[in-house]
Symmetry: C2
Subunit: 335 residues, 2 copies
């Protein structure tokens, strides 16, 4: 049986510990019916990696993290019709199987698409997970359209950096982001935000100063305890989508305006094998088109070389700092 | 200035106190541009009356409660084109103005419709507020359609009794209600529920016994602390709508399935003067058609005669008991 290099969690440890992520060799996986076997060229690190590593304990088998991936199809399952060996694809994976921090990974054809042709592999690898998250939030949960007003809370993060851009393609109304530092303010405006406000201060008076009458949609990465502040700045029947958690949400704050809250997870479709699972592949294809037509740019701000435990610990430490602007990418050297 | 009899709150008191609702005489109100002046023939009592009375303190002016109303148009404002003097209308009112527990009341033409011709005034008066609430929840928030599965938590209450019937017109899938007594079980089935389960027990195992795979929508009148139980029985991307409150909702329970929660209030459109305020008139017209075509029946189970403080205290006490099946209606005698 042939083996491959991979980076694994064998024990939940702080990222400063050299054993938190370790180099291992694992068997090259065999594609199931719907699978693509992809040779990985670039990956990116997301906060979900940190969360899963923290909760992993001591897994029975080495746990390979990594959701975002860009690479070349090397083998396909019997039911694969949409892709051929040699295709270059991108994907955001599935938390029920081994991930992309390896030379080879398996991905269901229905949650992958051809990658944008106009971006290098590394720049492309920054996008898939955040693009699917932002797209599900904006198009499916919020239904952003026409001249709706949209607020991204946490505009400079991975999801925020994509959501600002995708929102800009969906509405002609105000797209506002929160940012609390000059460099994040600049970043958000560069991506298409009309203005930024500071999420360390109450939002309502800042929104009033901007002259925005009420947001039809808010996507938030900093949500706990903020329902009253959000409710004040939302339009009646507005939709709030959170990608973190509100552990003590009081729905009384939502009632006057009949507001909705959705807890978005881009893993829902793969985890529950929903009948519309292929929507994730369609989202990625649509985002690839937006990239290739110049409407969406890469959110990569940091690039490391060599997919191995050392670079992935460095990349993960950046994500854990909480101060990342955009995304950190790790590119394969030669395998 | 001509006056009229009305029933008012002058001080927040327990409903057993004869001063909790009192007979008063007030000036007959004058219609604004969009208003109908309606002579009231029947009203019904809703839980919102109880809530507003409890929070009223000692209002500066006598506060006339009452949302549901059926009656005849006696005068119209200058901008009224859809209605004429003599029309018989129904409506669920607006919490920013005086209510329907009076000989005359004002209602914005955009939140009223012609009442169903096949029901007596009293039987019709049971429906408007619950019909609008159920319709906004099922059609706008849940988007119930096709063969979706729907659960009404609290099936025998006012909203539940309407929601079961309206759900039955929207989906060919399972319509399940919760009921904890033989008489509420029977009532829910009579209105169109395929089966009932007991909301005093955890729902998940009961739903499994029914063979329902996951609810696309839940409308709940008993919601606090139940997010984990609800999440277990919902389909991915399912929508929960609550008409009571969840004061400590943990959105972590919603995340795996990307579930949504909406706090529905039928007063949102009137309170915020939304641009689609006339949707409430359209909802009522649609429900009148459903009634006249035999698809929705009245939920009136108790009828009192004479719109005065004594009958309204009696009707309100029934609502406060928490054991009402369907709705209590109060019909005008002669004024």
């Amino acid at each position: 049986m042939s083996t491959m290099p991979a980076v694994a969690v064998t024990e939940s440890l702080p990222i400063t510990n050299p054993h938190s992520l370790v180099d291992v060799r694992l068997p090259v996986p065999k594609p199931g019916q719907n699978d693509l076997l992809v040779e990985v060229r670039a990956v990116s690190v997301n906060p979900i990696d940190v969360k899963i590593r923290a909760g992993a304990g001591t897994p029975a088998e080495p746990l390979v993290l990594g959701f975002d991936g860009v690479g070349r199809v090397r083998a396909v399952g019997d039911a694969v019709e949409e892709f051929a060996i040699g295709d270059e694809v991108w994907f955001a994976g599935d938390r029920t199987r081994q991930g992309s921090y390896a030379q080879f990974t398996l991905v269901d054809q229905r949650v992958a698409s051809l990658r944008p042709g106009t971006l290098p592999a590394g720049a492309a690898a920054a996008l898939p997970l955040t693009a699917i998250t932002a797209s599900e939030a904006l198009r499916e949960h919020i239904g952003l359209a026409d001249d709706d007003a949209f607020l991204m809370v946490g505009g400079a993060g991975g999801v925020g950096s994509m959501a600002i851009q995708i929102a800009r393609t969906l509405t002609s109304g105000p797209v506002i982001a929160t940012a609390s530092r000059p460099e994040t303010d600049e970043w958000c405006r560069k991506l298409g935000a009309d203005a930024t406000i500071d999420h360390h201060r109450p939002l309502a008076e800042q929104v009033q100063e901007l002259g925005v009458e009420g947001f039809q949609g808010i996507l938030s990465a900093f949500s706990a305890g903020r329902e009253a502040d959000f409710a004040e700045i939302m339009a009646p029947f507005g939709k709030l989508v959170v990608i973190d958690a509100m552990p003590n949400l009081d729905t009384n704050a939502l009632k006057a305006k009949s507001l909705s809250v959705t807890a978005e997870s881009m893993f829902t479709r793969t985890q529950f094998h929903t009948s519309d699972i292929a929507e994730q592949g369609r989202i990625l294809a649509r985002v690839a088109d937006l990239v290739d037509s110049g409407k969406v740019r890469s959110t990569m701000t940091k690039r490391l070389k060599g997919i191995n435990a050392e670079t992935l610990r460095e990349a993960t430490a950046l994500v854990e700092s909480g101060h990342m602007i955009g995304k950190v990418v790790v590119e394969a050297d030669a395998w």
